[in-house]
């Protein structure tokens, strides 16, 4: 475990923010705490535990869902509502214990290559609200354009995540490849596709885990839009993933990682397109 030299247990967002502001570079928010063993610090930090800050819960709002940053992955899996699809991402997330401990905020604020939710949030066009003296919302494209913690000044926190509901005529597809069920992801792909009269009129496609940071695939998206949904259309689009810096994972050749990525993307798009056509979300 990374070493903390002290901890504070604030009772509200304001208290947490005040503590972090005062601590500056010494302070570190702790959500589920599961990623701390992946992080190395030169100097021990002061943990600011967010679990009492009242940041967990899911509310249907503005044509979508407002999810508190401290909402656990288990809560995402157990939630159900029309247009809600994050339960599918949560279902394939590591193990029951880690689903109970990990939070959505923790999964997306410090992104590791294998993190699944950034990929889903990119495809779903989510926006992220930051608690600050000047509160602001950042869309997923900007949030994940680099390591998200870069956007947070001392005393700022991720407060909530807004995910638009998947509407009639739209579908969501999600695929994840791991060596064994609970392993770190080797390829994660998500797609949100809109279909009108058999023609794809909108597509957001994202890939992660097989590359160092999750990205959208604009060339793939463009190749889908305006075409009638069909397997060969999906395959032509997926060919445009192109050459990437594939992540090296022990036991996997780079060529195999590339293959897994293209299979995951093709399957996610196909699932999304079929769901849209069949009216399943």
């Amino acid at each position: 475990m990374s070493v903390f030299k002290d901890f504070v247990l604030p009772r509200s967002v304001d208290e947490a923010r005040a503590a972090l502001k005062q601590l500056g570079a010494e302070g570190m928010p702790v959500a589920g705490g599961t990623a701390l063993s992946f992080l190395r610090h030169k100097e021990p930090k002061v943990a600011v535990d967010l679990s009492r800050a009242g940041l967990s819960g899911i509310a249907a709002e503005n044509g979508g869902f407002e999810i508190g940053a401290m909402t656990s992955i288990t809560a995402l899996r157990e939630f159900a509502a029309p247009g809600w699809v994050l339960d599918r991402v949560a279902h394939r997330f590591v193990t029951q214990q880690i689903r109970n401990q990990s939070t959505l905020g923790g999964n997306i604020t410090r992104v590791f290559a294998w993190c699944d939710f950034p990929v889903a949030l990119l495809a779903l066009d989510a926006s992220i609200t930051i608690a600050s003296d000047t509160p602001r919302a950042v869309d997923a494209d900007e949030f994940f354009a680099g390591q998200p913690v870069r956007l947070l000044k001392a005393g700022e926190l991720v407060r909530s995540i807004h995910v638009p509901a998947v509407r009639a005529g739209e579908g969501f597809g999600y695929r994840k490849h791991t060596r064994v069920e609970a392993d770190f992801s080797q390829a994660t792909a998500a797609a949100r596709v809109k279909v009108e009269k058999g023609v794809i009129t909108g597509a957001r496609v994202a890939l992660g885990a097989s590359i160092p940071m999750p990205v959208r695939l604009p060339a793939v998206e463009q190749a889908l839009v305006g075409r009638k949904g069909a397997i060969h259309v999906v395959n032509e689009a997926v060919a445009l993933i192109g050459t990437r810096t594939w992540r090296s994972v022990a036991g996997f050749s780079q060529d195999y990682i590339r293959h897994l990525a293209s299979v995951a993307v093709a399957d996610a798009i196909t699932d999304a397109w079929k769901a849209a056509v069949e009216g399943r979300a």
């Binding site: 475990m1 990374s2 070493v3 903390f4 030299k5 002290d6 901890f7 247990l9 702790v30 705490g33 599961t34 701390l36 063993s37 021990p44 002061v46 943990a47 535990d49 679990s51 009492r52 656990s72 288990t74 279902h91 590591v94 193990t95 029951q96 214990q97 880690i98 109970n100 401990q101 069920e181 609970a182």
Partner: protein, 158 residues
Amino acid sequence: MNAKTIQLTINGEARSVDVGAGESLLHLLRRIGFTGVKNGCDEGACGACTVILNGRTVNACLTFAFQAAGGRVETIEFLGNFENPHPLQKALADEGAVQCGYCIPGMILSAKALLDRKAAPTDEEWSLHLDGNLCRCTGYEKIQSALRKLVAAQGGDQ
């Protein structure tokens, strides 16, 4: 170690304990005598360290002790012992579902956390809720059949 005192409930008993800022819940529990909590991998991969925190299973190795402040922790010691086993402990023993036993405290706590929420889980629910508990010995079949038999004996209907 910079120790600080926290209050928490362990196995129904209110406790006040000194914890190090970087100390894991696994380390704390074993240090104060709850050695039924096992250290398998110390990195979230095996589930041997599973405990129930506020009604949900967690890997104690990935939990900082301070995260349990004000919380309720249940370990295997809460459930039963050799003379007085909990129905889950008895079911696994009767079925021959225990070999070296290292995974069993965590396995039983994961099963209990599910049974506390749902009297008669489906096979799919068992798999999902036990997916973080590795067993190197049994091959899982006997564990699954022990759990199914227990639910059936308690009148649960899948």
